[in-house]
């Protein structure tokens, strides 16, 4: 069964077509990686999936249900959890409270059980020590972790991760990969936008390459990484 289906979704900002007739099918339990140069429209695609932006054309389906007109809030309840590329913590709430909002409103957790659930996620994402600190005082790396943790706290069926591995040390990166594999092993579907390819490729089943708002290629990790068209795009940036 597919958890997410995009049918020819398009979005323009003024004259700039940022998402150009993108069609995509993600199976339940699958982990999909998205790569592509800066400005390719990756984050915009997440905004379209999570409902923060409405498409000009095309439809978004979650588990076969058309959610194109649904609000972000309704899509969270339908099982989409997201992180923001630029972290958006609740600055005046503690790290723990940030997760409690997500667990109690996005997930169906209540009271004390919600508290224990959040502490589990905090220890898994290495934020346990700053549970009581205000989120506004966190470092950028910690904020990124909080994005991941807060998305996890909504108990999503599909989690959208936007560039959460940048700037990590090797050790931290290994921990992060472990955490994401763990989410994956629990049956959660994952779509992960990432420039740190070795981390990404060690988790995902498939890779999708986005360029100028169009899907350049979708396929297995090896297949995509060795494709000449992909190497050409990435040559100027990485590899």
């Amino acid at each position: 069964m597919s958890i997410l289906t995009l049918k020819s979704v398009s979005k323009s900002f003024g004259a700039l077509k940022v998402t150009d007739a993108v069609s995509l099918d993600v199976q339940a339990g699958e982990a999909l990686g998205i790569i592509g140069p800066n400005g390719a429209g990756k984050s915009t695609l997440f905004n379209l999936i999570a409902g923060n932006i409405k498409p000009d054309e095309g439809q978004v389906f979650l588990e076969g249900v058309d959610v194109t007109q649904r609000t972000p809030m309704e899509r969270v309840h339908a099982g989409v959890g997201r992180s923001f590329q630029i972290p958006q913590p609740f600055n005046h709430l503690s790290v723990y409270e940030n997760l409690m909002v997500a667990a109690q409103f996005g997930g169906a957790h209540l009271g004390r059980e919600a508290g224990l659930f959040c502490m589990c996620i905090l220890s898994e994402t290495g934020l346990e020590a700053c549970a009581r600190d205000l989120a506004g005082g966190l470092s950028l790396l910690q904020r990124k972790r909080l994005e991941l943790a807060r998305a996890m706290a909504t108990s999503p069926k599909l989690i959208l991760l936007d560039e959460i591995a940048g700037g990590l040390t090797d050790g931290e990166c290994i921990d992060l990969v472990k955490t994401i594999r763990n989410i994956h092993s629990q049956g959660t579907s994952i779509i992960w936008i990432e420039h740190v390819l070795h981390a990404l490729n060690s988790v995902v089943d498939r890779l999708m390459v986005l360029n100028f708002g169009k899907i350049l290629m979708v396929g297995g990790v090896d297949e995509v990484m060795h494709a000449p068209a992909v190497r050409e795009i990435y040559l100027g940036i990485e590899v």
């Binding site: 997201r82 609740f90 409690m100």
Partner: protein, 344 residues
Amino acid sequence: MSDQKNLTRLLQLFALAGLALLFLVPVIGSRALVQDLFGVLTLFILAQNWNLLAGFAGMVSVGQQAFVGVGAYAMFACVILLGLDPVIGIAVGGITAMILAIPMAFFSFRLAGAYFAIGTWVAAEITRLCFAQWKALGGGTGTSLPKGTTKTMFGVPEIKSWLGGSSSAASDALTYWLALILALATLIAAWLFLKSRMGLGLQSLRDNEEAACSVGVNPTRLKAWVFMLTAFGTGLCGALLFIQITRVTPEAAFSVVDWTAFVIFITVIGGIGTLPGPIIGVIVFYFLQRLLADYGTVYLIVLGCLGIAVMLFARRGLWGLFTEKTGLELLSLRQLPPEENQAH
């Protein structure tokens, strides 16, 4: 750290002592003091409700006088048309105000920011004009409570025989105690609400609406709750106010200056978006009024200037300034992780 804890304890003790003293005022204080403090307490109730609405839920309403007026008129209707005790009229006033909040929310929730403010004001004006048509309650010229109503209402004879003095003094004492209880109940209810799941959702919305929606918070539902609850509190207070005033006119009951403008100043000066803020604001208001009582409305000018200064230089009001400087907190809204609850 432990120094701070001790200071917080001290602050809490001060607050409790102040509260005990307030309860004793009708027994030990003059009648004028009772009446003055009744005004202060009711202003605090209105301010705390507005604070919840504007400071925590981001709905800057300039139409709260609608709920004061409706509460007052509902109480008068209970007494004059149904022959009920005024004290029962208070409850009816609160409920009626909450019912009025439903159509008002439908109308004003379509508006945002400044338009919301203007929309609530317009709605309040329309409500005032409607009540001015109610002939049974005096229409545009208003009406008074039947003679002797407040002297025989619930509890007054008992208070009179207990305290001695006149029936009017006993009636003042009763309304004072009701105001004190309502003030305390408002503060505690606001604190419990903000510490609850809904309160946390509200605080997340205030910090970052997009992120809050993206973790499943429903802004409209939360705001509707706050709008209804604060209408209820404001309506209760309106009914209580006019039991003490004993006379109602549309102008007095729906006065934007008395029931909303002062209240905004008090909240802003004390600290908008903080629970102790309105307490501080109302204390400042009271002392300014006393200090400048001989100079007519000068205190209003001073109050206005103070309000502007605070808005410019201390966005979180005097209480915000105080907590920033000292790190002390009262009525903290922080929620602790479960492990630490176990440890103690």
